[in-house]
């Protein structure tokens, strides 16, 4: 006789292990992870490894790379060390990316969750607001915010977050709309769980995976937005960000291309790593596409 199915199938490995196994399958995502880890390490070690302050004069202006070992990647127009700039830039760019993303996602989650969960007029109102934000070209809004707030790095980051929340809000709303009809939500309501708890403890954790994936997109866009601001000379010159370095290096693009190209490559690689990371996360978190 087949026995009752009271005996359990062998315990599954912890989620993290499963996650990692799925993630690992995507080779490009692995590459993304490697680059990402390198960037994070650069950010962490910026103070230790390198000749210190990236804003100080470190040598003769416009020393090309690989000429002077004190400034291995050369110096910029004001004699500042490019290598040190790249390391510190990793810190600033990551910080901008992470914080702006958190801001965008926090706003997006709240608005999307309320709209998606309650529907009706709440949804109508919030969606009108979202549409309004989406209608104004985000870069123009960003320029306006920066004009208002000034180019301090905190404000730039906040402004980038503020112009980026609409997409996550829409995603969260869509997720909530589909999840709120799911039986486990009914089950929780049936147990007498309050709306707030249902939104944040029952639905949100289940709505997060696509948001986490999208976070990598916002992160990438944040870095690109910051660099575009710096290009228009609206970056914060008190910090060596990659955007600032390109923004200034562009003036010497023809005579000393490395000044812009090196941080440019850093941006491209970092943004690339975020995107690849996002794809890996997508494969690992949304196993809907169980190909391979």
């Amino acid at each position: 006789m087949t026995s009752l199915d009271t005996d359990l199938s062998p315990a599954e490995p912890p989620r993290l292990v499963v996650f990692w196994r799925r993630y690992r399958r995507n080779r490009a995502a692995l590459l993304g992870l490697v680059i990402f880890v390198i960037v994070v390490l650069m950010a962490l070690t910026a103070g230790l490894v390198d000749p210190g302050d990236p804003l100080r004069r470190a040598g003769d202006p416009l020393t090309p790379p690989f000429v002077d070992w004190a400034t291995p990647l050369g110096t910029d127009q004001l004699g500042r060390d490019v290598l040190s700039g790249v390391f510190y830039g990793a810190r600033i760019s990551l910080l901008i990316g992470v914080v702006a993303t958190l801001v965008a996602i926090a706003i997006g989650v709240v608005i999307g969750a309320l709209a998606g969960y309650f529907g009706g007029w709440v949804d109508d109102v919030l969606m009108r607001v979202t549409e309004a934000f989406q209608t104004i070209p985000n870069f123009v809004l960003l320029l306006t915010l920066v004009a208002i707030l000034g180019s301090k790095i905190e404000w730039i980051t906040l402004a980038i977050g503020i112009v980026s929340w609409t997409a996550p809000a829409r995603m969260v709303r869509a997720e909530f709309m589909s999840l709120r009809g799911r039986e486990f939500v009914d089950a929780a309501r049936n147990l007498g769980v309050s709306n707030t708890a249902i939104i944040f403890k029952e639905i949100l954790p289940n709505a997060l995976p696509p948001i986490v994936v999208y976070a990598s997109v916002i992160m990438a866009l944040s870095i690109l937005l910051e660099s575009a601001l710096a290009f228009l000379a609206l970056g914060d010159p008190n910090y060596a960000s990659w955007g600032n370095m390109i923004g200034q290096g562009r003036a010497v693009l023809r005579s000393a291309p490395y000044c812009a190209v090196i941080p440019g490559i850093a941006i491209v690689l970092t943004v690339l790593s975020f995107s690849l990371l996002g794809e890996g996360l997508n494969d690992a978190l949304n196993p809907r596409q169980k190909k391979q």
């Binding site: 006789m1 087949t2 009752l4 199915d5 009271t6 005996d7 359990l8 199938s9 315990a11 599954e12 989620r15 799911r182 039986e183 486990f184 009914d186 089950a187 929780a188 309501r189 049936n190 147990l191 007498g192 769980v193 309050s194 029952e202 954790p205 289940n206 391979q292």
Partner: protein, 547 residues
């Protein structure tokens, strides 16, 4: 060679699964023969490899990770496995046709029915446009679609589920294939429609003399249609033989267990429940879903889901709510638990009107009326551990978290799950186990009434039997009152003391289960009962019952 070769001959078929799957081979050593004019049923529980077998014949496995690892598939004496993709394309649709399970998704939503029928003809024949259209409409007529000409121009979403399945069948039969593979073609349909479709397949197959490989997990359907039966268990064929033989005198233990789990159509003995006090009363319930469609969601007419429904549930009683899809069963269960606000009426729980409660009172009242949901996976939050899932209710209602968790572990025992289950996540369980967790969660609050909406319809027969038995046990032991919603009359017959039969939001008949089954009054009920597949076959009972 005088006699024709069998239409399909499968020898020692082996299908490999990718690494990390629960078993290395989805199918191992399958032998199967289909003669012309024969309907062979392939039965087995979910995951036994039925669909992959069909896929292998069509050469449509998701290669390379799932692939044929050995054996032979001979069609009309010709080996299929060695054929090129181009050769296979010529065979597919013309010589071997397939009918899929989900009529909702098997048709391209963006193309008209006519276009999709036409495509088969365009691919395999040199008919002119007019000829093709004539042929397609003729085929639609043969599958008894009302007004074939207009159906020809309709998009799939514009016709009903049953009609869609007919279209899929028409598409399969368009070129009079020699072999038809039907993969659970009726599972998603109402019993009445199911019977019509089964009859249709039988009728057409007799006319065309084709061989049919019919995949199903429902022994009722097998009894209805099969000439021969093959039983699959975890990729292995455990038994094969003429239908009557296998159904009434199964040899293999697994087959016996399966057949033993099919609920008989014999209602339980009458209990004197009507004398017990009424715990739940629905009075004059009404619900109309407004016509409001979203901007882009297309027009929808207002639907009257429930109109003027009144019922009573006594203590310790099981009241079944049966009816076809869309008759309003789920709506009733959701109104009663106030997951859905209704338009009018009262739901009295121990004399107190649940529908009039303020949100605060309601949350307190929820304790007394709990629910078991249809889909055991969807109803458990995938990010919570089992123990937290079960303890959540008591904690919300103010119990001490530690004590609630300890109680939850005890409940696991009650629903016959090992205590080791407590710290796991829902996805680590089988369907039946998940439904037990759902039941444990409902019980945790020690409710007076449990509302169960199709709690077993997503489960395999054997598992279904176990869950039903557990529910019956608990009901008797805890003296629970059960409002049991189901579309499966066999299940209703087995469990319910009384039933109400719903059609289009209204009760057309109600009474003691035995009486309704023995002597249905309303035409709708009569039709429903006579559509139960294999109603003339009584599954033999075995001493060594699996449950």
């Amino acid at each position: 060679m005088t006699d024709t070769p069998p239409i399909l001959q499968i020898r020692d078929l082996k299908i490999a699964l990718p690494k990390g799957a629960d078993r290395p081979f989805a199918l191992e050593g399958l032998d199967l023969t289909i003669e012309p004019g024969e309907i062979v049923c392939l039965v087995g529980e979910s995951g036994s490899g039925k669909s992959l077998c069909a896929g292998a014949i069509m050469r449509l496995l998701p290669e390379p990770h799932v692939h044929v690892a050995g054996g032979a598939i001979r069609f009309m004496g010709e080996e299929l496995l060695g054929k090129t993709e181009t050769e296979m394309r010529a065979i597919r649709g013309e010589d071997i046709a397939m009918i899929f399970q989900e009529p909702m998704t098997a048709l391209n939503p963006q193309k008209t029915v006519g276009w999709q029928l036409d495509e088969v003809l365009r691919l395999h024949t040199r008919m002119t446009r007019a000829e093709r259209k004539a042929r397609a409409i003729e085929m639609l007529e043969r599958v008894h679609i009302p007004d074939p000409a207009s159906a020809y121009n309709a998009y799939p979403h514009q016709i009903s589920g049953g009609q869609r399945q007919r279209v899929v069948i028409a598409m399969a039969l368009l070129l009079s294939p020699k072999l038809i593979i039907a993969d659970e073609p009726t599972t998603a349909l109402d019993v009445t429609t199911q019977l019509q479709i089964l009859k249709l397949i039988r009728e057409l197959q007799e006319q065309e003399g084709a061989g049919v490989l019919f995949i199903t997990h429902d022994f009722g359907v097998v009894a209805e249609i099969a000439d021969k039966v093959a039983v699959l268990c975890k990729g292995e064929m455990v038994e094969q033989g003429p239908a009557a033989e296998v159904l009434n005198n199964p040899q293999h233990a697994y087959t016996r267990a399966l057949i033993g789990a099919v609920p008989a159509l014999t209602p339980p003995p009458v209990k004197p429940v009507t004398q017990a006090p009424v715990v739940l009363k629905g009075i004059g319930l009404k619900k109309t879903f407004a016509a409001r469609g979203g901007l882009l969601s297309g027009k929808r007419k207002a639907v009257v889901a429930v109109k003027d429904l009144t019922f009573q549930l006594h203590r310790g009683e099981t009241l079944g709510v049966v009816g076809e899809s869309g008759s309003g069963k789920t709506t009733v269960s959701r109104i009663v638990t106030r997951l859905l606000e209704c338009d009018a009426g009262k739901v009295e729980l121990d004399g107190k009107d649940l529908l009039a409660c303020s949100p605060r009172e309601l949350r307190a009242m929820r304790k007394y009326i709990q629910m078991v949901f249809q889909d055991p996976m969807a109803s458990l939050n995938p990010r919570k551990r089992v123990v937290d899932l079960i303890a959540q209710g008591p904690i919300v209602h103010g119990a001490d978290p530690d004590k609630a968790r300890a109680d939850a572990r005890k409940l696991l025992e009650l629903v016959e799950l090992s205590p080791a289950a407590a710290t796991r996540f829902p996805h680590e369980f089988s369907g039946g186990q998940r439904q037990r967790i759902g039941i444990a969660r409902a019980l945790a609050l020690e409710p007076k009434v449990i509302v169960a909406d199709e709690p077993v319809s997503a489960l395999d027969v054997s598992v279904q039997a176990q869950v039903l038995k557990l529910l019956a046990d608990l009901r008797d032991r805890l003296n629970l009152s059960l409002l049991f919603v189901t579309h499966d009359l066999r299940v209703a017959a087995q469990l319910c003391d009384r039933i109400i039969v719903m059609q289009k939001g209204e009760i057309v008949e109600s009474g003691l289960t035995a009486e309704v089954f023995a002597n249905p009054q309303h035409a709708y009920t009569q039709n429903l009962l006579s559509s139960i597949p294999g109603r003339d076959w009584t599954p033999p009972s075995f001493r060594t019952d699996a449950a």
